[in-house]
Amino acid sequence: MTRPSFGQRVRRNEDARLLTGRAMFVDDVNLPGMLHVAFVRSMMAHGTLKGIDAAAARQRPGVVAVYTAADLGDYCKPGPVLVNPPPVPGHVFHGCTQLPLAKDKVRYVGEPIAMIVAESRYVAEDALADVIVDIDPIDAVVDLEAALKPGVPLVHPHLESNAAAHVVQRKGDYVAARAKADIVVKRRFLYDRGVAAAIENRAVAVDWDPRAEEMTIWDTTQAPIPIRNGLAKMLGLLESQVRVVAPFVGGGFGPKIMMFYPEELLLPWAAMRLHRPLKWTEDRQENFYATTQERGQVHEAEMALSKDGRILGVRDWFLCDTGAYDPYGLTIPINTQCTLLGPYDIPNYETEFTSVFTNKPIVTPVRGAGRQHGVFVSERLLDIAARELGIDRVEIRKRNLLGPDRFPHNHEIMFQDSAPLVYDSGNYLPTLEQAAEIIGYDKFIREEQPRLRASGKRVGVGICCYVEGTGIGPYEGARVTVEPSGTVRCATGVGTQGQGHFTVLAQIVADALGVGVEDVRVVTGDTREFHWGTGTFASRGAVVAGSACHAAAMSVRGKILDLGSAILGAPADNLELSGGRVKVAGSNDPGIAFGDLAGRANPLRGAVRPGTEPGLESTAYFGPDRGSTASGVHAMIVEVDPETAAVEIKRYLVVHDCGTIINPLLVEGQIHGGVAHGIGNAFFESLVYDDQAQLMNASFMDYLLPTATDVPPIETAHRETPSPFNVLGLKGVGEAGCIPTGAVFAQAVEDALGPGAGVEINEIPMSPNQLFELMHVSGKERA
C-alpha cells in the first residue's frame, strides 16, 4: 500500500533544485543579444513634469533606446483597476491608476519617467544621470489626516479631495448598544507602512520572436495567467501568442501579484520594437519605491462593554493610506473591517473608512493585507477594557468567543471577495485554553512575574486571538495527466513563491491516485501548461488550487478504475490503486501499471469508445462560494530593559487552526515566516518619510529586517477544525503568522513594564526609541 501522505511531514519535491543552485529564477534568464533596462525615476514626490531631455542619454555609447511617455503613443494609458470594490451599498470609490511612464505629473518618489535600454545594466545606469528631468514641485501629501483638509494640494486634481474611497458597514445598532453599555473604551491607533521585502527583487525578461510572432515573458509574478491575458490585449496579440512564465520566484508576500507594473508593461512593448531580448531586474533601492507597500492606517475606535466584560458593540473609524494610486480597490480596508471582528461575538458593529491618496508608493496587499490592523484595534481595546474592568485578559476573551454551535456564522458585512462575511467553522475556546496552558499564563502571572519583578527584571506575557478569512475565489483549475512513463503530471495556474506547491499539490494528487508524492510532477506558473486561473494570494493556493487538483485527480482515478475494470475484468469497486498500479483488491496478481494503462488509453490503432476521452487525463476547477476561516491564538513572553528600552522576546507560541493539515512541516514553516514578518512589523521595520514624502531609509542598512538573532524559536500547536466549504476541509495559512503579532507584542511589553509605568502602546511599529519616549513621558506625567 502507498501510505497516504496527508498529515505527514513530507519533504519537498522542489528542494533539490533550490539547494544546488539549479532552480531558475527570472534574473537567471540570459539570452544571446539581451539588452538591459534601467528607469529614470522621479526624485520628487509631487510635482508638475515640465520637460524631459534625453538627448545626452541617447548619445551615450552602449545605449540602444530611451523612451519617454511621448514615445509610447497610445500605449501610454492608465493601467487597469485590478480588483473592483465589493458591492457595499453607498460606497464611493475613485479608481486612479498609473501610466507606464509619467506624463504631466509625478505623484511619488520613484515613479518611472523614462526607460533606458542599453547593452548592460552598468551602461543603463550611467545613462540615468544623462537624462535631465524638469519638475516643478508641489507640496507633497504625506499625512493621512492633513490630506483631507481643505486647501491641500490634490494628488489627483480631477477629484474634489484626496479621498480615494469611502465605505460604511453596519451590523446591528451600535448607538443603541452604546447607550446600554457600562463602559466605553476609546483610543486612537496607528499601524504604519512596511515593505514586503522579498529577498528576490522583481524582474522581467522578454523574448519576442518576430518570425513565429510569439512572446515569452519571464516574470516574478504571483499571477502569470492574468498577466498574460492583460498583456496580450494591450499588445494586440492573441492570448496564445503570449507565454508568461513565473519560474521559481524568490518570495512574493503580496506585491508580486498581478500588478501590471510599468516595467511589466514596457519591456514587452520595447522588445517588439527592438527585436532583441530585454531584461530588467529591480535593484534593492528601486524596490523601496517601485514595488507596492502596505500598512498605513489611523484608527479612532471604541468598544462598548457591559461590566462583566461582554462586548456590546464596536465602532471604528479609520483612514487607510492607498498611496499615489489605488489599483487594488478596497481589498485592504475591507479586510481590516472584517478581521476586526475576530473570534468574538460582536452583535453591534459600525465601521467606516476613508481611503486616502498620498504622495507615497502605491499600496496593495502585503502578507496580512489589512488584517493586522483590525486585530490590533480589537485586541488592544479588549486589553484596555480588561484593565479598566479589572478582568483578566484571557478571561475577558473567553467571555466573548463565539461558541462552536454558532457556525456557519454570518457577520452581516461584506468581505473582500464580494460575498458576505461568513465564518465556515471554528472552535475557539479550546485554542485559547491550549495557548494559555502551553505558555503557562496563570503560573506566569501568579508566580514568575512577581518573583522576577522583585529581582528588578521586567517581564511580561501577551496573548491574543485572531481569525483570518482565507481561500477565497473566484476559482482555480488543474489538469492531472498520467504519462505513459507512469509519471503523474499536475499542471495548475497558481504561481509559487516558496509555499511548497510542488509538494502540497503533489500530496493531494498522490493520495487520490495511490502513488508516491515524489512521483507527481507539479507544474505551476507557466501559461503554456495551464491558462485558466487567477493566482497566489489571500492564503488561497492550497485551498483553491488544491481543491481543483483533488477534483482533477479524482476524475483521473475514475478513468483508471473504468479502464482497469475493463482490462482486469473486475468491478471498479473491487479494484485498488496503490504504488502506481491498479489491481484487484486482495489478489496476488500485480495488476497493471498506470503507465501501461495510459498507453492503452491512447491507442495508435483501434477506436476510442464514444463518450470517452483518450488518455488518463482530466481537468477540473474549483470555485468556492466563499472563503474559509482560519483562526488561532498567539502568546509571547518578553523582557524589557527598563534603562535602554530594549525588548527581548523570550518565548513565542502559536496555536492555530487551519482546518485539515496537508503537511504539518510546511504549515509550521509558513507560521514561522509569518511570525518573523510580524515581529519585523512590530518592532523593527519602519518606512520613514519626511514631510515631502522622501523616504529616509531606502536600504537594508536602515530598513531593518529581523535576523536570526531577532526572531526567537517559535513554538507551535495545531488544531484541526475542517472547513465545510471544500471537500478536503482546507483553510489557508500563508498569512496567519503575521496577523496578531503587533497586538500581542504591545500587550506583552505593557505587561512587562507593569501598570505603574503607565505605558500604553497604541502604535506599531514601536522602536526602542519610541518606547523610551513613551516610558519617559508617562514617567513625567506620573510625577
Binding site: L19, T20, G251, G669, T707, A708
Partner: protein, 162 residues
C-alpha cells in the same frame, strides 16, 4: 575610462581567464560571465547575504567585491556543494529534511556561510548558529527550520525530530 583587466580565477575547481571591466562586480561576473546563476543577488550593498560565496575558503559577499579582485584566487559557489551526480551533501540534505528553505532565494548564501561555519565550528549550539546566520536575511522561514537544519548537519538533532 579604465582599460579591461585580466581575471584568472578558479571557480569550483575550474580555472577561468577573462578580461573584464574593472567595475564589474564579482556577483555579476559569476552569474553572467560564468553562467553560475546559483549565486543570488538581493541587495547589492552587502547586507542581505544572498550572494555569499567562499573566497579562498572564507565567506564573502560577491556583490561588494570586484571581479578584478578575484584574480589569482579560488572561489566556491553553491554549484560546488552537491556531488556531480546531483547527490546532496549532508548540509544540503539537512536543509531538505528540516524544511530549511521555502522560496530558496537566500538559500545559496545561507549554505555557503554555513559551510565555512560548520568547518570551523562542527558542534555549535543554537545561539552560535543564530549568530552565524545573522548576516543572511531570510523572509520566508523565520530562521527556525534553518537552525534545525544546521543542528541535523552537525549531528546534534535527529533527522526526523519535530
Amino acid at each position: 575610462m579604465g582599460a579591461n583587466v585580466r581575471v584568472d580565477v578558479t571557480v569550483n575547481g575550474t580555472r577561468h581567464r577573462r578580461d573584464v571591466e574593472p567595475r564589474l562586480l564579482l556577483s555579476d561576473f559569476l552569474r553572467q560571465d560564468l553562467g553560475l546563476t546559483g549565486t543570488h543577488v538581493g541587495c547589492e550593498h552587502g547586507v542581505c547575504g544572498a550572494c555569499t560565496i567562499l573566497f579562498d575558503g572564507e565567506p564573502a559577499r560577491a556583490c561588494i567585491m570586484l571581479a578584478a579582485q578575484a584574480d589569482g584566487h579560488e572561489i566556491l559557489t553553491i554549484e560546488s556543494l552537491a556531488a556531480p551526480d546531483g547527490t546532496l551533501n549532508p548540509l544540503q540534505s539537512a536543509f531538505r529534511q528540516a524544511h530549511g528553505l521555502q522560496c530558496g532565494f537566500c538559500t545559496p548564501g545561507m549554505l555557503m556561510t554555513l559551510t565555512a561555519f560548520l568547518r570551523d565550528n562542527p558542534k555549535p549550539d543554537e545561539p552560535q548558529i543564530r549568530e552565524a546566520i545573522s548576516g543572511n536575511l531570510c523572509r520566508c522561514t523565520g530562521y527556525q527550520h534553518i537552525v534545525h537544519a544546521v543542528q541535523i548537519a552537525a549531528g546534534t538533532r535527529a533527522e526526523d525530530a519535530e
